[in-house]
Amino acid sequence: MTNAPATSSVAGPVLRGLHNATIKKNLAISLGLTAIITVAYKLMINDPKKAAYADFYSKYDANKSFERMKAAGRFQSC
């Protein structure tokens, strides 16, 4: 008796609708990736920059800054 070779079941080729199925899969991945990167960009770049400006100006003392620059001799006019 010959030993029967071990077989494993292989998925058959997709015979119909491969294009649509591929498009759906790629669309899902691309939209997901786009959403993640867009949200990450917004949360890591856009929002921190706005917050940095708001924070800077909330604590900013223009006159103190001016006095510091004047003491360092940066101005020609005074």
């Binding site: 790629n26 691309s30 990167i37 400006y53 101005f75 020609q76 006019s77």
Partner: protein
């Protein structure tokens, strides 16, 4: 001011420039989104072995890739128009500065006060002090009050020049025979630099602009000390 390896816009010294920076970030966000989407689709082409030889038309996908870009453009256009109209708002300037471009220096006039006029030449590199900025520092700086609305009228005496200070979001062409007007507001003290932005001959790169922003009382003192 610009420092080495500066990739982005300069830090703003004006509320309008702040809005321009935020709008730029918003537009760039949309561009990144489109680039990632299209980039992924193009990348996946490397791994495709098949062709759909029965493909004739795709009405649905054509509709989608027409309407979706139109919607995306709306997200860019509406903030853009808001900012465009904001930049043109009428306000009451407290100081008017006249700037005349020459080959190759700027001259300034403060006709509100005693007709103060002066020329502003770049400091040559061989005369620059060790703490000076090469190709940016000038002999006579423009002194302006901070936290005040300023009107600038720009023209030129010979060829077209362009007066610009990136930190304030200002760029105005100076054309001979024409007066161009714009307004700006400086919300912090300091020195703000710019360079001529319209090709005007051999020394186009060597006619910079420097604004000294000081509190109003110091500005008035400077005006009084410069009575002509």
């Amino acid at each position: 001011m610009s420092t080495w390896a500066n990739l982005g816009l300069q830090d703003s010294a004006s509320p309008l420039m702040e809005q321009l920076i935020f709008f730029h970030d918003h537009a760039l966000l949309i561009l990144v989104m489109i680039t990632v989407l299209v980039g992924y689709l193009m990348f996946m082409l490397f791994f495709n072995n098949y062709v759909n030889r029965f493909l004739l038309h795709g009405q649905l996908i054509e509709m989608i890739w027409t309407i979706l870009p139109a919607i995306i453009l709306l997200f860019i256009a509406l903030p853009s128009l808001r900012l465009l109209y904001l930049l043109d708002e009428i306000n009451e300037p407290s100081v008017t500065l006249k700037s005349i471009g020459h080959q190759w220096y700027w001259s300034y006039e403060y006709s509100d006060f005693n007709n103060i006029e002066f020329d502003s030449y770049m400091i040559p590199t061989n005369e620059l002090s060790t703490d000076g900025f090469r190709l940016l520092d000038v002999d006579n700086r423009i002194v302006l009050p901070m936290n005040s609305q300023i009107r600038i009228l720009v023209t030129a005496a010979d060829v077209i020049h362009s007066w610009t200070v990136p930190a304030l979001g200002v760029k105005v062409d100076g054309t001979p025979g024409r007066l161009n007007q714009t307004n700006f507001f400086i919300n912090r003290p300091g020195l703000f630099y710019g360079q001529c932005s319209e090709i005007c001959g051999a020394n186009h790169s060597f006619m910079p602009i420097v604004i000294e922003s000081v509190p109003v009382n110091y500005f008035i003192k400077w005006i009084s000390s410069n009575n002509s």
